[in-house]
């Protein structure tokens, strides 16, 4: 829990979420990550480091290349705190309507 702020900060950048979404499909070489995002290798490396510091991805060195893969565990901690209250209350209203209709039966 102590690194929740780090996780949220890491997830707060669109490029980093895109990198995570890309890694969702499977691991990738660090050098291959930049291409689809139209980013410089330096920029991608910086984002990857932020994600890795937050524990959201793991970098493995194999020979001369570095491979990145997703580590979803910290995100599960983050989701405990994720609520869009507008959507939340709308769902509550929907639930309540269904509940009241059921009682009528």
């Amino acid at each position: 829990m102590e690194n929740l702020d780090t996780i949220f900060a890491a997830l707060s950048h669109e490029a980093r979420r895109k990198i995570l979404a890309r890694l969702m499909q499977g691991e990738s070489r660090l050098s291959d990550l930049a291409e689809p995002f139209n980013m410089s290798q330096t920029a991608v490396s910086k984002h990857v480091r932020v994600l890795s510091d937050a524990g959201l991805l793991v970098i493995e060195k194999r020979g001369r290349s570095r491979h990145c893969r997703l580590n979803a565990e910290p995100m599960k901690a983050a989701t405990d705190w994720l609520i869009d209250y507008q959507a939340f209350w709308m769902q509550q209203f929907d639930n309540l309507a269904r509940h009241l209709a059921k009682e009528d039966d």
Partner: protein
């Protein structure tokens, strides 16, 4: 952290709807723990537990999920109770770890009004004072957009 600027931290969240039931019945759905258990949360019958001490200053707690590691839910205190008309309570989002550690957002305020409308009731929820601290923790409107890919990642 540019996105924080777009978080509507101080704006109240307002949701209103009509229910074909009397204000008394709808009010009871909000204040009887057995009824709350049936509808509040992810879907019908999704809550783990609900406790309600329905008096000014009385505590309420709705637990959404509980496992060996932690329980996640909401809690607060009743501030105003007018049966069949109005309910005001403080609100916090809470995570309890199994080791006893508790982490919670600051309290925000939820006001629920029940207005007779035709044969039914209009219910209006005004959730206000959802502070930037909540937003920082990922709670509140602005954040959801920032997490479009997260649900997908977790689902896969």
């Amino acid at each position: 952290m540019d996105f924080l600027k777009s978080v509507p931290g101080d704006d109240p969240i307002v949701v209103e709807g009509y229910f074909p039931a009397s204000p008394e019945r709808v009010f009871s759905a909000w204040t009887d723990p057995k009824a709350v258990m049936k509808w509040f949360g992810h879907g019908l019958n999704s809550l783990h537990s609900a406790t309600i001490d329905l008096r000014p200053g009385g505590a309420w707690s709705f637990v959404r999920t509980k496992d060996a590691e932690k329980s996640v839910g909401f809690e607060g205190e009743y501030q105003e109770i007018a049966p069949g008309e109005k309910l005001v309570f403080s609100w916090a989002h809470v995570v309890f770890q199994a080791d006893g550690a508790r982490e919670a957002t600051p309290y925000s305020r939820v006001e629920v009004t029940f207005t007779p409308t035709g044969k039914g009731t209009t219910v209006r929820v005004v959730h206000s004072a959802v502070r930037s601290e909540d937003a920082r923790r990922g709670i509140g409107g602005g954040w959801q957009a920032a997490f479009n890919c997260l649900a997908e990642i977790l689902a896969s």
